[in-house]
């Protein structure tokens, strides 16, 4: 059984978002006045418009008031948004993925009653997850027990409250989130996942990183550091039960990984399409440059890699929604979502560079989109868990390595 037909709904979704990107996102994101400066503030009005279209709640179930999109549909949508602006896409994807796990999976009906209506009603209500330190990818502990990692925050039960302390240098969406899911250690006990609202006393969102200085911002979306100092939340805010909550949250975040790759893919496709359009009209060497082998081979390399990346992204998204297909060995049991993310980051970086090369000198001019595509693709490749460390996660899977629990 092998069927690559998209459903009419998926095709319609794609067309709708593509139109939105062409008519609203690209004109704003690729305006030379925005391209030239180093700092590029989030296009918040476009995030809002996309939210009004339902993209903020894309993966939230229909019963909860979302679009109920599955992983594959979410990837199709995120590729389109990524082709317009990776930051806008990253913010929406993070909220949509977290909404699915928090509201549909982790909350009790009572908690849902308390938190869901406000979230669904407010187009500007975004979500963030204050989890593990992103610098501690398990890949570096290849074939060894992890010596670092896990939650860095500590929660202590005091009466009917939890008191949370600690800080993380980077939390995706922190800058726009109104609701945080916080993972914390509890000393001897199992880790807990707690809901903390943006206005909780003791929670501070740090200034976002800057694009200039000795050390520069190297992430997409609207992340920032988060600190919690004696931040007190009622026991009612405990999500799930102990370790089970953390595991569910991790699984929910893993479910979102193909979408990160899809945003990355959209960026690569935008660069490639720009290169194709330009190569058809730029004339050198007596013909349009697309008719030269040197350009043709670059474009073919881009097209091949885009197709391969999309295949792996879609397959990984589908596999996460169909664990039975892994169980009956229809689909590989390797972490396809990690493979998709790493492979896409590598090839889209190459695609962006090759596409920019088709533009000659214009490819490095800051008022042109190509150099931004290159920059964005470099960020995807080297952000969070670095690619090569992520590959070691795949290698551990290949080897069948089981990491002993950290002491």
């Amino acid at each position: 059984m092998y069927n690559l037909h998209l459903t009419p709904e998926q095709l319609e979704f794609r067309e709708t978002v593509r139109d939105f990107v062409e008519s609203e996102v690209k004109p704003a994101a690729l305006n030379p006045k925005r391209l030239e400066p180093f700092e590029k503030p989030l296009l918040a009005n476009l995030v809002d418009k996309a939210a009004q279209m339902g993209l903020r709640t894309l993966a939230l179930s229909e019963e909860a008031g979302g679009a109920g999109a599955d992983g594959l549909t979410s990837c199709i949508v995120m590729e389109e948004l990524g082709a317009g602006d990776v930051d806008v896409a990253a913010v929406l994807a993070q909220t949509a993925v977290l909404a699915r796990v928090l509201f549909d999976r982790l909350m009790t009906p009572a908690q849902r009653g308390r938190w869901l209506p406000a979230f669904v009603k407010d187009d500007r209500c975004h979500l963030a997850c204050v989890g593990v330190d992103s610098g501690t990818g398990t890949g570096w502990s290849y074939h060894r027990p992890a010596v670092e990692g896990g939650a860095v925050l500590v929660a202590v039960k005091q009466g009917n409250d939890w008191v949370i302390n600690g800080a993380l240098p980077f939390v995706a969406n922190a800058n726009v989130a109104k609701l945080f899911a916080v993972q914390a250690r509890t000393g001897a006990g199992a880790p807990v996942t707690l809901l903390v609202s943006r206005d909780a006393p003791g929670l501070t969102v740090r200034e976002p990183l800057r694009a200039v200085g000795e050390v520069i911002r190297w992430h997409h979306g609207a992340g920032a550091g988060v600190a919690l100092k004696d931040c007190r939340v009622p026991a009612d805010n405990l999500l799930g039960e102990g370790a089970k909550g953390a595991a569910a949250l991790d699984a929910g975040m893993a479910w979102g990984v193909p979408q990160v790759a899809a945003i990355n893919l959209g960026l690569g496709r935008a660069a490639f399409e720009a290169a194709v359009d330009y190569s058809k009209i730029r004339r050198q060497g007596g013909r349009n440059i697309i008719e030269h082998q040197a350009i043709g081979t670059k474009l073919a390399d881009c097209a091949i890699r885009l197709e391969l990346a999309r295949n792996l992204i879609w397959k990984s998204a589908w596999a996460l929604d169909h664990p039975e297909a892994v169980a009956d060995r229809s689909v590989s049991g390797l972490p396809l979502h990690v493979m998709a993310r790493v492979y896409t980051a590598e090839v889209v970086n190459e695609i962006a560079l090759l596409s920019a090369e088709c533009f000659g000198a214009m490819g490095v001019m800051r008022d042109m989109p190509l150099q931004k595509y290159v920059h964005d693709s470099m960020v995807f490749r080297h952000a969070e868990d670095s690619d090569s460390a992520a590959k070691l996660q795949v290698a551990e899977s290949v080897a069948g390595y089981q990491r002993p629990m950290a002491a």
Binding site: I216, A361, R366
Partner: protein, 406 residues
């Protein structure tokens, strides 16, 4: 075989290293991060370097210049580029034209242009060939299209030529005092017969600077539009003969122009690679992952090994080509080393970024700068067409060798 440097070469290398460490590197990042990237230009850097001889390095001794050989020039370019690639280029761009003036210009032209160049620490030069619709076509004009290539028009009017048109991306454009400008003196034949090289001082009536380009890399280096609106250039400013194209105009100049330009990019790339290796090693020794220094992880070791090997191999190739230039041996190596340096600088600066990627959501700004500077190699020198051009050279020499064998 003897790889040792002579005393003069070691002197230039040491001087350049000191200047680079003390003056260029400390200001490199700050300069790189100026919005727009152009205003104001740091003339003091040029002046200080000029006093040490780095602006006029290639002017022959008989004309009052330092007259450094090609090996010294390569050493200096690499050392300066280790501090800042774009600043190195702002100096070495002048050497290209020093070579040309020395070998192809008349005594009168030398008096009028070489002397002020030597005397004024702020006198820098550039060459204007590229136009919006003429990039690669200037380097390899298609045989069947005489109209391809630059179109800036020059019409004779008595003792003057009237120039009309525009150039873009021109080196040292907004800061130069003198430009070597390729113009069409006959628009009906190809640029090799219809093109002429003019010396255009910035004070030429009807000549002005247009927009300055805002680039992703090489941000100290100024690329600008040159605009000619009935610009009056005296006939005595023609380099070589009218209607011979710029290559033949520089006839007798077997060391400057493109051949120097090839070595220039390769030597500059070498300096950037040295910098990347140093940054990567430093970071890997001082940062830990999973309880071990990065440099103790095989993942990092293999990357640093590749960076070092590529950089050392590039050094050998660059120095060999410089040495060949000094012996007046000209081969396809000049072109090949430039093409290869383009690949090496991409790979080495990106491996450096991969190593620094272990920091997660932040990036060392200088690491990013090196990647951005490196990108210039694949964009501003007509990379693909340069590679094809080298093959043409090889094809021709093989054909010639074949003919001899018969």
């Amino acid at each position: 075989m003897d790889f040792s440097l002579n005393e003069e070469q070691r002197h230039w290398q040491a001087e350049a290293r000191k200047f680079s460490d003390e003056e260029l590197r400390p200001r490199s990042l700050e300069r790189d991060q100026i919005e727009g990237g152009f205003e104001p230009w740091n003339w003091d850097i040029i002046e200080k370097g000029s006093r040490l001889g780095f602006r006029t390095l290639a002017v022959p001794k008989e004309w009052g210049g330092p007259g450094a050989d090609f090996v010294s020039q390569a050493l200096v370019m690499a050392e300066l580029a280790r501090g800042d690639s774009a600043m190195s280029k702002a100096f070495s761009q002048n050497w290209k034209w020093s070579h040309l003036i020395a070998s192809a210009c008349t005594t009168d032209q030398k008096e009028r242009f070489l002397k002020p160049f030597l005397a004024d620490h702020r006198y820098v030069m550039g060459r204007g060939i590229t136009e919006p619709n003429a990039g690669s076509d200037n380097r390899m004009p298609p045989e069947n299209d005489p109209k391809a290539g630059y179109r800036l028009r020059a019409v004779r009017e008595g003792d003057h030529w009237i120039l009309n048109g525009e150039k873009c991306f021109i080196a040292n454009g907004s800061v130069g005092s003198l430009f070597f400008v390729d113009a069409r003196t006959n628009p009906d034949v190809n640029i090799r017969q219809g093109g002429t090289l003019f010396m255009v001082p910035k004070t030429t009536p009807g000549f002005r600077i247009g927009k300055v380009f805002n680039k992703r890399g090489w941000r100290f280096y100024q690329n600008a539009e040159l605009i000619f609106e009935n610009a009056r250039v005296p006939h005595v400013n023609v380099v070589g003969q009218v209607g011979t194209g710029s290559v033949k105009a520089g006839k007798g100049d077997t060391t400057g122009g493109d051949i120097f330009g090839d070595l220039e990019l390769a030597a500059n790339a070498l300096g950037v690679c040295d910098d990347a290796c140093q940054l990567a090693t430093g970071f890997a020794k001082t940062h830990k992952r999973a309880g071990r220094r990065l440099i103790d992880h095989q993942l990092t070791q293999l990357k640093i090994n590749e960076m070092l090997a590529l950089t050392e191999a590039l050094r050998s190739y660059v120095m060999r080509v410089a040495w060949q230039h000094d012996r007046k041996e000209h081969s396809a190596n000049a072109g090949l080393v430039m093409n290869w340096s383009t690949d090496v600088i991409q790979r080495v600066t990106r491996l450096n970024m991969e190593i620094h990627g272990a920091e997660g959501c932040v990036m060392n700004a200088r690491v990013d700068k090196l990647v951005r500077d490196a990108m210039v190699w694949t964009h501003l020198a007509g990379d693909t067409v340069q590679r094809v051009k080298v093959l043409r050279r090889i094809d021709k020499s093989m054909a010639a060798a074949g003919a001899n064998a018969d």
